[in-house]
């Protein structure tokens, strides 16, 4: 009789276990589209069967196991971080590029060409009042155009600052969600698929914003660290980030009054900017500090736009001041055409202006040798190829401006191309994650090897393609 009862009990337990297994399957179906959810399996184990000892065998549940593969999750997060970087770079450089008119029908390049044309016309009729007035009005237009570009770039800097602040807030918010998960784990260590799903969904969201790494601790909590190792979440503590603007003081600034650069600080006030190299925040910081810093200047550099503005003003002013307004004996010396803030090298473009003291008759076309249009001709030639006056890095003003535009165009093109490719790579990482999650790699070893060989074969063919292309391009370039 006791054996019959034991058998009934065992059968009842088995039914209960299979009911649990059905519940797990139902839960998997219900959560098939829940962000961060990984399929759960109920581990079943056979119970010992010893008839003479009264052990009736049967089956028992040994807890839940999810199909998540941490390596694959990490790969997806890394690719998502890179995608966030390129997306932010493409967006910011696209905005910056829009301020540079590459069509040649407007903007700064046209304003410069107009002034050079005005100098040329003036050189043929140096004493003509209309030609003189055109020089002044085109100089005014050019100064306004430079100011406009500087202001647009400064506004973009401020917009990026706002975006950086917003991204940092999102990061802190996600860090708080992870902190809540850790608190839950510390309170109750029973696996909770729902909480796990939320954690991984939060990590997916975080990977769009910044680069980080995670470590699962023995107590079940997850430690999240920024790229350089600074903890963002450790146990039930959050190291909240903040954004701030300041002029770098280490090394000592060359331009103390330069536009500030964006910095990310941890809760102790430590500067962790250099640790953020990827994700949306990485892209925003790169565009804000490197790209815009290169144009508008920072503590260590004047900025290409300021260099252009100062070289233009200094060159034109030096030429004009070296001559006289006419060939008559005792004629007045020339007057500077432009003014700018001489106290701050990184404020030249924003402060460039037509000299308010100059009048048309004070323009000096006569050079120091007495040539009636020597100065005007020199000024008209500033944009001529091979002219060394007003050169920056071996380029004349027109070339330098063109190079500035093409550099930002190149930045945008690279970021956009990277974004397109990385979108595919990130989607592929998700596909690969889904492929290996829940699969025993040991039992699937043959298939894994087949994939590995097929990838390797493709990589090898691409190496060949690349090499043939390189040699053909080289032959084409050399022969032209």
């Amino acid at each position: 009789m006791p054996n019959i009862l034991a058998s009934l009990t065992s059968a009842g337990n088995a039914l209960d276990v299979f009911q649990q297994a059905l519940s797990v399957i139902q839960n998997n179906v219900n959560n098939s589209s829940t962000a961060g959810y990984a399929t759960q399996n109920l581990n079943l184990t056979a119970q010992p069967l010893v008839v003479t000892g009264g052990l009736t065998g049967g089956v028992a549940a040994q807890g839940l196991q999810d199909s998540r593969d941490d390596y694959a999750e990490e790969q997806v997060q890394q690719q998502t971080q890179t995608l966030g970087l390129y997306t932010a770079q493409a967006q910011a450089t696209g905005t910056i590029q829009s301020f540079f008119d590459v069509t040649g029908t407007g903007g700064l390049p046209t304003a410069l060409n107009n002034l050079l044309s005005a100098f040329s016309a003036w050189s043929t009729t140096p004493s003509d009042a209309t030609a003189q007035q055109t020089v002044l009005s085109d100089a005014q237009s050019l100064a306004s155009s430079v100011n406009g570009l500087a202001n647009s770039l400064s506004s973009t800097s401020q917009q990026l600052d706002t975006q950086i602040g917003s991204t940092v807030s999102q990061i802190n918010s996600i860090a708080t969600q992870i902190q809540q998960y850790n608190r839950g784990v510390l309170t109750d260590s029973t696996p909770d698929p729902g909480a796990e799903a939320q954690l991984y969904s939060a990590l997916d969201d975080l990977s769009k914003l910044t680069n980080f790494s995670t470590v699962k601790q023995a107590d079940g909590t997850v430690t999240v660290s920024l790229g350089g190792g600074t903890p963002l979440v450790i146990g039930d503590q959050v190291n909240a980030l903040s954004a701030s603007d300041s002029v770098d003081t280490n090394p000592a600034p060359t331009y103390a009054n330069s536009p500030p650069t964006a910095h990310i600080l941890d809760s102790q006030g430590n500067d962790v900017t250099s640790q953020i190299t990827s994700g949306q925040l990485g892209g925003e910081l790169d565009s804000r500090n490197r790209v815009l810093g290169g144009l508008l200047g920072d503590a260590q550099q004047q900025g290409t736009l300021n260099q252009f503005a100062q070289t233009l003003a200094d060159t034109v002013n030096t030429i004009l001041k070296s001559g006289t307004v006419s060939t008559a004996s005792g004629a007045a010396s020339g007057t500077a055409l432009f003014t700018y803030d001489t106290s701050n090298g990184t404020n030249v473009a924003a402060s460039l202006a037509l000299n308010p003291a100059i009048t048309a008759s004070e323009l000096a076309p006569v050079d120091s040798s007495g040539n009636a249009n020597g100065n005007a001709t020199q000024l008209a030639d500033l944009g001529t190829a091979g002219n060394t006056a007003g050169n920056i890095d071996g380029m004349n003003l027109v070339q330098y401006l063109s190079q500035m535009s093409s550099a930002i165009g190149q930045e945008n093109q690279t970021a956009t191309t990277n974004q397109t490719t990385q979108t595919q790579v990130a989607a592929q990482a998700t596909t690969l994650r889904d492929q290996v999650s829940g699969v025993s790699l040991d039992t699937q070893a043959t298939e894994v090897l087949q994939f590995q060989r097929a990838y390797q074969a493709s990589a090898q063919v691409l190496t060949v393609l690349n090499s043939v292309l390189d040699s053909t391009i080289q032959m084409m370039t050399v022969s032209q």
């Binding site: 390596y71 994939f451 590995q452 097929a454 990838y455 493709s458 393609l465 043939v468």
Partner: protein, 122 residues
């Protein structure tokens, strides 16, 4: 070789690379293998084009150079996508405790090269 068919090799190579990228599905072995075959055919076409350039059958022009640079950009895109798969599986192998792969001078896993080559040229 006349310039027209030689240029056709370049056009066919470019189409092949694009088709390989369109076919590529990292989780579908037959599609990966098909992409590989398309890339191999594109490499053959490109070799023929290179020979035509080397022999002087195709005069260098800035248009051709621009096309080649555009093709190179597409190849670089494919390289990044395929490299990501290779890296993913290398990581998997390392994680499952398999013997670390031995690489040859070309950057490929040495013991697989023979198999790979026969696959490519099959």
């Amino acid at each position: 070789m006349t310039p027209a068919p030689a240029n056709a090799h370049l056009a066919r190579a470019r189409d092949g690379i694009r088709e390989a990228l369109a076919q590529w599905d990292a989780a579908d072995l037959p599609k990966v293998q098909k992409s590989c075959q398309l890339l191999a055919a594109a490499a053959d076409d490109l070799r023929l084009f290179e020979s035509a350039v080397r022999s002087g059958d195709i005069p260098p022009t800035s248009e051709l150079c621009a096309t080649l640079l555009a093709v190179k950009q597409e190849v670089m895109q494919a390289v990044r996508i395929v490299d990501a798969c290779v890296a993913f599986h290398r990581g998997l192998a390392a994680r499952t405790g398999g013997a670390p792969p031995v690489y040859n001078a070309g950057g490929h896993i040495a013991e697989e090269t023979a198999g790979v080559e026969s696959e490519v040229h099959a």
